[in-house]
Symmetry: C2
Subunit: 335 residues, 2 copies
DNA sequence: GTGAAAGCGCTAACAC
DNA sequence: GTGTTAGCGCTTTCAC
């Protein structure tokens, strides 16, 4: 009933524990074990379906072959798609993923990192919460654990980071709306003081300024993070009924979903002429009538760059280059 | 740099390792440690921020405080929502979740379970792949590990299972379509030989029979699992152009997404009069014009029942009751 | 009441 | 070339 241990295998193979360990870890040649013994041991291992106890390995080596992934919310398609790509690529290299959602809650994020530390997670892929997490992450660096941030950077830490040029994303999108003859363009964003959200607003603002269109504060709506969707919809409805609007940019996909629901409730001519561009794609946008354009982040590329950075750091413990990998967004105009 | 061990704490507190261990694990009173010593030890633990190494604990106790979650695809909202609920509830009880996607691939699923075993995962929440996994799961039971299946059952194993009455779901939905005056109702499903998919087709079939509407094989489309979406869309378009259809049931949400894309491409009058009902809700459905009705599975309830079953089994090792928890779907008619 | 010590399964330095 | 053994950090039995 109890699984075989290396001791059992050693006994069956008439070899010592060390020899078995060397064979299992592919160090037999290097350690000069005879071919005959190697064969015997391998046969026994196979016959009994022996697999080393990874907990014991971890305790001994200090490694766990587990990568910790910390995101804002795993049920957000942006994060779950990235998680899926990371999972697949990590498995190819023999790493497992353990993930959790922070809900942008600082305490929860700190607690998660502590938990991961206790579990001796080998490396961390983190989309950090707004602020305050710096010290905790610095402690990871102090322990020489590979870390890569994505989605949001913490510039003070100077870490490897995989991100996106959000400024250009909304800049181009705003220009596209203006190119379609829209000039009263609303901007619906979330009330989080993080760079990638600020950049999106700034791209919009500067695009307008560059095109000599006045920036109108009444067209900007900042919704509290984690606010109940019904309330968000209400606020967006108010925005659209109180202001003259013929185009709108949503700074996240879930805001766009709320926005589309709001527009749907405001039936009638008002929303016929409104062009909508969302940030981050969503299945709903392509299907929506009229189609919703989107500023798409390259999910697969982000995931790939993040896991690659981790694998690089894992294999070259000494050099931890500080790389900033910034992808461009892709503006997908649907009509 | 290196974290404190129980040994360090014992030294600082002028106590033995045993005493420290007892205090940490709340067994001090029971073991008759003096109040003064308890205080001292607790203070030292706090001062140095000591946390036990969970790997060492696992090796010693054989427990990991980790629950393994195996789903079909974590990027499918059905699974990621359930994953999120499970994560939250598990954390409250001090358990972490490690998850993976099987893609309905038997080998991958087996491998995942092996990996989890080596990691000494304490319990398993599994949405099993179509077939062939029974022996592997039985081996878990043999090791007396708590297991709960969800979404799909493996009746031969007689395990705890959390599921949904799919038959009633499509039965009611079909009746609703007929009630709307639709009689040429297509059924688009996936080519997987699993009960919950069969049941959906059977509910549709028997509803028609019961209402004296002939069952027409030409209105049934079975799409291969994991088929490229473009091809699926093409097949659905063919179905709709070659057959007289005024209502359609999609057996999964991703098929419905493909179907809506297909209908969108077939512009014109043909899709004006088609009523659509999907299985499993999706943000896109509420927003879609015209609205898409849905047969909704109670995600939160499913997650809750699954994790509860695990926690029950975890706390009462002896009795492993074989419970089948079957929820009803909810038909949401949107118009 | 408290502490010494065995042992969970493994790796690797060191003997032989 | 191969085997003995210490020790990773912890829990818990048993002796004092």
């Amino acid at each position: 009933l109890k699984p075989f241990s290396i001791k059992d295998i050693a006994k069956k193979a008439n070899a010592s524990i060390t020899t078995v360990s060397f064979v299992i870890n592919g160090k037999a040649k290097e350690k000069g074990i005879s071919d005959a013994l190697i064969k015997t041991v391998e046969q026994v291992v196979k016959d009994y379906g022996y697999k080393p106890n990874e907990i014991a390995q971890s305790l001994r080596t200090g490694q766990s072959k587990i990568i910790g992934l910390i995101v804002e919310d795993i049920s957000n398609p942006f994060f779950s798609s990235i998680a899926r790509f990371i999972e697949d690529m990590a498995y190819l290299k023999g790493y497992k993923i353990i993930y959790s959602s922070t809900d942008n809650n600082l305490d929860k994020a700190k607690e998660l990192i502590t938990t991961y530390k206790l579990r001796k997670v080998d490396a961390y892929i983190i989309a950090p919460p707004p602020s305050g997490i710096e010290n905790t992450i610095q402690s990871l660096i102090d322990e020489r654990k590979p870390v890569v941030l994505f989605d949001r950077n913490l510039p003070s830490l100077n870490l490897n980071f995989v991100g996106v040029n959000h400024f250009d994303g909304t800049y181009e999108a705003t220009k596209a709306l203006v190119g379609q003859g829209k000039s009263n363009i609303a901007f619906v964003t979330v009330d989080l003081d993080v760079k990638q959200i600020d950049d999106r607003l700034e791209g919009y603002r500067q695009a307008l300024t560059g095109l000599n269109i006045p920036y109108n504060n009444n067209l900007i709506l900042k919704v509290p993070f984690n606010q109940d969707q019904a309330l968000t919809i209400l606020q967006i409805k108010n925005l659209f009924t109180n202001q003259q609007i013929n185009g709108v940019l949503f700074a996240t996909n879930y805001l766009a979903i709320s926005g589309l629901k709001a527009l749907k409730e405001i039936k009638g001519p008002i929303n016929k002429e409104i062009s909508v561009i969302a940030y981050d794609d969503h299945e709903a946008f392509e299907l929506h009538t009229p189609c919703v354009s989107t500023i798409k982040q390259p999910l697969k590329e982000i995931a790939q760059a993040a896991i690659q950075s981790i694998l690089d750091q894992l294999s070259a413990k000494d050099a931890v280059p500080n790389q900033q990998i910034i992808f461009s967004t892709q503006l997908i105009i649907r009509s």
